[in-house]
Amino acid sequence: MIRLSGLHKSFGPLQVLKGVDVTLEEGKVLVIIGPSGSGKTTLLRCFNLLEVPDKGGISLGGISLSFDGKRLPQKDVLALRKKTGMVFQSYNLFPNMTALGNVMEGQVTVQKLSKEEARKRALKLLVKVGLADKADSYPHQLSGGQQQRVAIARAMATEPELLLFDEPTSALDPELVGEVLKVIRELASEGMTMVIVTHEMKFAADVADTLIMMDGGVITEQGTPDQVLNHSSNPRTLQFLNRFVDDDRT
């Protein structure tokens, strides 16, 4: 069980998270939706401590941390990060390494696997995301969709217990969105535990076990996709969802 409890986070005077509680069972997919600036990215980045909460607690993969505004010991931060992988909106592949190198990097540098072992595992992951033939390409030689799939392989390479996605398709041309969502759907069906921030409502409805609606730094709604998307009575949620009604539901 992954649990975030009572998370608070401010940037200077701006309170971005105002007491957020999340629980997620292993093998489940949690999708976070909500208007821009509501704190979705910030919440997601708390899972792997790219943002350290000011208050609250996290328990994940046998690690329990609580926050009180003091600096965390580096070893706790690293321990938690080893349990998680992250896929960024802008891919953030390492441009100085090939696709294969990107996927091997964490295994070699962090997990201290041998090069041969890492290469074998990396190739398997590239096959899985459909990019076996691009192993030796550098990121700039790949399309956005291909880069993002390499990024997914890289995030999985260190065998995390939780994968985090921050709007993984928002930077993509519309015709490339499908190939990335397909990979994520496959991971979901294989029982990968994931937290996904997305604006793709149709995808969210399909893939989520639990859907969370965030607004103004708090969770305003939480439930199955059907409950949140079709049976909400919260006016803010309805207003937010209204914007997607006319969307071509991909």
Binding site: L50, L78, R81, F94, N96, E105, G106, T109, Q111, H140
Partner: protein
Amino acid sequence: MDDRKIQIVIDSLLPLLKAGVAFTIPLTLVSFALGLLLAVATALVRLSSWKVPVLIARFYVWIIRGTPLLVQLFIIFYGLPSVGITLEPFTAAVIGFTLSVGAYGSEIVRAAILSIHKGQWEAAYSVGMTRIQALRRIILPQAARVSVPPLTNSFISLVKDTSLAATITYVEMFRTAQQIAAVTYEPLLVYSEAAVFYLVFCTVLTVLQDYLEKRLSRYSAG
């Protein structure tokens, strides 16, 4: 040009080349290598959150950039003996030039590190790297590429600056040219000849820069 002048040019070729290869180039290479290490170390300290070392690093860069290199060399070679530190000309020159490359280079390296998008740090952290691992594996290799042109500039400046070592009795290429000029009474010829040698050395470096840039940019478009 009469035969005598041609003879002088030919006679000074070998001594100048020898001085260049045996003294100017080693002084340049040693100073640049040490200076580069100092530059990276200083840049990393300045980007750290250790208060006192940051102040020391800034103080060092401030002093070196704010005073003439020639004055620094004189202080090291002629000044330090009065506090009991007497240095060989070569050692004094290496210290002076290393400090100089370290100070100017640290700003280049610092800017190069800062130019790397913060998403690269975050991606490195997200796979579980420490700050040191992220620097070594992800950030510095990318920063190295950005710094090649400005660092080559420093390198080329250094080749020419080593002529200042003549003033602290180090017999490098320029000092050799002075000696030849003094006995032949042909300063225009001999100094021009020395200038051509400097030009050749610097041109080789420019070619090397092109090569390095190409190698390091394998991975980027354009």
